[in-house]
């Protein structure tokens, strides 16, 4: 099994475990795929967490606002009808748990790795891009008619991009992850 397959398998296992344990929900997972870091127009909630060590990169979880609210309501057993601080915090923690579990799995193969504090972005008409020609290992999960996308890019440190760029139609700025 190569590293891409190991990462895809770990992402799938970790995401299913987090949903099953923390939300009591069984989601359906798709096949892992490799996608290049071309920017795509986004709308919704995207969470990033940085991975550092001999290998470095970024883990990302994205979903629609409706799914973010549903995750929050299920996980915290509360009402969540709009994306607010509690919803964003829940998506950030979901990302932390998924990528944290993947990180622990990968440490067997890649040595000690560190995690940053998660960053969450919510909005419309924004794009995300990693510096460099990053390849993302992407696994999609289905909860009824909603899709959650978990992505991870990881490269040996000298090749790794440490900065994410996000741009909107109004402005652009650098988002360090």
């Amino acid at each position: 099994m190569n590293l891409t397959e190991i990462i895809a398998k770990s992402v799938t296992h970790s995401t299913l475990e987090v949903f099953s344990t923390m939300l009591g929900v069984d989601v359906a997972s798709g096949e892992g795929a490799v996608e290049t870091g071309m920017p795509e127009a986004r709308e919704g909630v995207v969470s990033f967490i940085g991975i550092a060590g001999a290998w470095a990169g970024t883990g990302s979880v994205s979903c629609s606002p409706a799914l973010a609210c549903r995750i929050c309501a299920q996980m915290l057993m509360c009402e969540a009808s709009a994306v607010n601080e509690e919803v964003l915090d829940t998506v950030a923690e979901l990302t932390n748990m998924i990528v944290g579990s993947v990180k622990t799995d990968l440490e067997q193969h890649l040595g000690p790795l560190g995690l940053s504090i998660p960053t969450v972005v919510y909005g419309r008409n924004f794009k995300t891009k990693s510096a460099g020609n990053t390849e993302w290992i992407v696994v999609r999960f289905q909860w009824d008619d909603e899709t959650l996308v978990v992505k991870l890019c990881l490269e040996p440190k000298e090749q790794a991009a440490h900065v994410m760029f996000h741009t909107s139609s109004m402005q652009s700025c650098t988002l360090e992850v």
């Binding site: 923390m22 579990s101 622990t104």
Partner: protein, 129 residues
């Protein structure tokens, strides 16, 4: 005797879940205090009587291992059990926490039963009347 618990995590979602889980454990718990990082936790410890600390590791300002080291270095607080609850499942962090004097370790994601099992030897069960 009922215990006071301090939950330390930068995620309000996790603090809320732990509040609920702790109330469901059947342990004799009086008050559950919260802190968003190690620095806030030290302020709570200075102001409240705390019998158990549940702490995340990866937090801003002061992380869970620094908090654990501060608690164990204090003559006033060193007897307080500290259980780490974190995504940091790597051997290095676990060994460091144990070396610093952590009373236990629970990996996120966790179930209510895992928390209950970990606290069984630390907190007293609630007395049913």
């Amino acid at each position: 005797m009922e215990s006071n618990v301090l939950v330390v995590d930068d995620s309000a979602a996790i603090r809320k879940i732990l509040q609920r889980v702790l109330r469901q454990t059947g342990m004799a718990i009086h008050t559950i205090h919260e802190a968003g990082d190690g620095q806030e936790a030290l302020v709570v410890l200075g102001a409240q009587k705390v019998d158990l600390v549940l702490s995340d590791i990866n937090m801003p300002k002061m992380d869970g291992l620094q908090l654990l080291a501060s608690i164990k270095a204090s003559a006033q607080w060193r007897q307080i059990p500290v259980v780490m609850i974190t995504t940091e499942g790597g051997e290095t962090k676990v060994s460091e926490a144990v070396k610093l004097g952590a009373a236990g370790y629970v990996r996120k994601p966790f179930t209510a039963d895992q928390i209950k099992e970990k606290l069984a030897g630390i907190l007293e069960p609630a007395v049913s009347l």
